[in-house]
């Protein structure tokens, strides 16, 4: 699903150049659930931005779902993001003046689905994350966990191949964190590839493998034999 080879990325600020990703190679299979770990500055957010086509890269290769992603136009990137990738952010990134249902429905607006249809679909996804009764609330009227579940519903509505989650539990307490992880796990069980950037070890433990970055390269890859599902079945 995701293949990157020898990926380089530098940020240039004035005369300084900060080399963040230094020849990173990685392969993620369809349906996998992978966590990316590492200290701040190790390049994990940068990697996620490149994978999400939110940012470009300098050298190397990136294939997403068989498509070679390099120097593609903004418009094409927007379409790919819309159809292939679902995003979940640490700070939720809901639009403050839209209610829960409208926020969830927004990706379908950019697919040209008419208002009534997309609101109807949005209600189905809100139901799925257990927030059907909250559809008319503004983000400011919801708790962190609720906001993140709405963001997850939004990421799912366009039926993406991959969900990229940047510290999805970073702003949540531990109980809510686990609820959110349960939800992400459920989604992964349906076959959607899941990539989670986190610095929390117990979050990483619930993925199939953890990729630990250090100074722009992969330091270790850890396979977690006992996934949460296996544990919970006991």
């Amino acid at each position: 699903m995701i293949t990157i080879k020898n990926l380089h990325k530098s940020y240039v600020t004035g005369s300084n150049s900060l080399h963040v990703l230094k020849g990173l190679s990685l392969e993620i299979e369809e349906g996998e659930m992978v966590s990316i770990m590492g200290a701040s500055g190790s390049g994990k957010s940068t990697l996620l931005n490149v994978l999400g086509i939110l940012d470009n890269y300098d050298l190397g290769e990136y294939h997403l779902n068989g498509i070679f992603i390099k120097d593609i136009s903004e418009t094409k990137a927007a379409q790919l993001r819309n159809q292939t990738i679902g995003f979940v952010f640490q700070s939720f990134n809901l639009i403050s003046f839209k209610n829960a249902m409208e926020n969830v429905a927004l990706p379908l607006y950019y697919q040209g689905v008419n208002r009534r249809k997309r609101n109807q679909i949005a209600m189905e996804y809100l139901d799925r994350v257990g927030l059907k009764d909250w559809w008319m609330h503004l983000p400011s009227e919801l708790s962190g966990g609720q906001k993140q579940r709405i963001a997850i519903a939004r990421s799912l509505i366009s039926k993406p191949k991959v969900i990229l989650a940047d510290e999805p539990t970073g702003a949540l307490d531990s109980v809510t964190s686990m609820e959110v992880m349960d939800l992400l796990q459920e989604i992964n069980d349906e076959g959607i590839t899941m990539l989670i950037v986190t610095h929390e070890h117990d979050i990483a433990l619930r993925t199939q493998r953890s990729i630990k970055l250090k100074d722009g390269v992969i330091e270790t890859i850890t396979y977690h034999k006992s996934t949460y599902k296996a544990v919970s079945s006991f």
């Binding site: 939110l54 903004e74 418009t75 927007a78 995003f87 952010f89 990134n93 950019y110 040209g112």
Partner: protein, 409 residues
């Protein structure tokens, strides 16, 4: 193509950000409102002054003989100068720039005019046919004095509307009837009206007839002309006129008492310069008002786009193309400025209308009005400016990489 869904999205955004919408709209509406009121007031001032001057032909010159105050070529001072028909003919035929010309002869102090048993006191004005143009009098019935009246010294009279009302109380047609002036019968051949009421209570008689009746021979008391000259040329004309008459009547051309000249051309030109000044002033202020409006709208648009950076980042992350971002911001800008501009236009016109109905009759402020084309064009300019002002930050926003827009502060 009309995209209902797009408009729903924009309208809901506008509806949910009312403060922002209000501020943008207000600055546009205020700009247009001020512009309309300003242009309308300028026009009202101009109309007022114009109407003051339109009563008489605007480019007239009056002149007549006086008494010398200087000795000249052996002639003593204090000599009375007299004008005659020859002076009339000289000015008419020999001087350039004369359009209409009439002499005037003063006849009889006793001006009781009677018809059967009705009578009244009115001004008697004995003139040439051109006097109609000089006074800007309009014929309501019949005709004015003509050249044949002058040549044949006919006893005809043209009476003003109030004169007709005073003498012909039963609504009888006055044309062809005879009125008695100082026991001389005159046939009425015309009724005139004049915008200046004071000039309406008159009876016009042919100058030659008056000369004959009063034994005035060929004497005239003054001359009036209208001319096609510019203000500057008219000053030259005045000098030349004085010099020529000094030669004809043998007085010092520096002797201002020997001949009086009253020239409204200069005054008129002065006023038309004043108009032009007012108009330039109003235009400049109008232009600056528009510029202020443009700056205001631009500022707000820039702030709006900055405020929406995060929202734009979110939209881009979930699949908004740069084109759709620009379209969204621009349509919103056009929509708000368009409606606000229209509201400003209506309010401005409303205020002008209100002022002109409430304000009492005022000689210097009349019918404030706005050239509709100018009003529409300035509204369009402001809407376009708002759009253009929105375009720059919108393009910038559409180019922001979502990762930058989404970065937590």
């Amino acid at each position: 193509m009309f995209d209902l869904d797009k408009w729903q999205e924009i309208l809901s955004t506008i509806n949910k950000n009312r403060m922002r919408t209000f501020l943008t709209g207000f600055s546009v509406a205020w700009g247009i409102f001020m512009l309309i009121v300003l242009l309308g007031s300028g026009k009202g001032l101009q109309n007022g002054i114009n109407s003051q001057f339109r009563q008489d032909a605007v480019n007239t010159m009056w002149f007549g003989p006086g008494t010398t105050s200087k000795t000249f070529e052996g002639l003593k001072s204090g000599r009375e100068i007299r004008f005659t028909d020859e002076d009339y003919e000289f000015v008419r035929d020999r001087l350039e720039g004369v359009d209409k010309i009439s002499a005037r002869f003063y006849m009889w102090q006793n001006r009781v005019i009677s018809y059967n048993k009705e009578y009244g006191v009115f001004d008697l004005i004995c003139v040439h046919p051109d006097f109609q143009a000089i006074e800007n009098a309009s014929i309501a019935e019949g005709r004015y004095i003509n050249d044949i009246d002058i040549k044949k010294r006919r006893k005809v009279a043209i009476i003003g509307r109030p004169v007709k009302e005073a003498l012909f109380k039963n609504g009888k047609n006055p044309i062809g009837e005879y009125i008695k002036i100082n026991n001389v019968l005159f046939q009425i051949v015309g009724v005139f009206t004049d915008k200046n009421e004071r000039d309406e209570t008159r009876v016009y008689l042919p100058v030659s007839t008056a000369q004959m009746i009063s034994g005035g021979a060929n004497r005239i008391h003054n001359l009036s002309i209208t001319s096609t000259l510019s203000a500057k040329e008219s000053e030259e004309f005045e000098k030349k006129l004085r010099a020529e008459f000094a030669k004809r009547h043998r007085f010092d051309k520096e002797d201002m008492n020997a001949m009086w000249i009253s020239n409204t051309i200069k005054e008129y030109k002065m006023f038309s310069n004043l108009f032009m000044g007012i108009q330039i002033f109003v235009s400049i202020i109008g232009a600056f008002t528009i510029i202020a409006g443009i700056v205001g709208v631009s500022n707000i648009m820039i702030i709006v786009v900055n405020e929406r950076t995060k929202e734009i980042g979110i939209r881009k992350a979930i699949g908004a193309t740069p084109f759709s971002i620009v379209g969204m911001i621009l349509l919103e800008a056009v929509f708000i400025t368009g409606i606000a501009g229209y509201v400003g236009l209506l309010l401005g016109i409303g205020v002008l209308e209100g002022v002109s109905t409430i304000l009492p009759e005022n000689p210097f402020f009349l019918n404030p009005e706005v050239d509709f084309t100018i009003a529409i064009i300035s509204t369009l300019v402001l809407v376009l400016a708002g759009t253009f002002a929105g375009l720059m930050p919108a393009l910038k926003a559409s180019r922001i990489r979502p990762v930058v827009a989404l970065r937590d502060e």
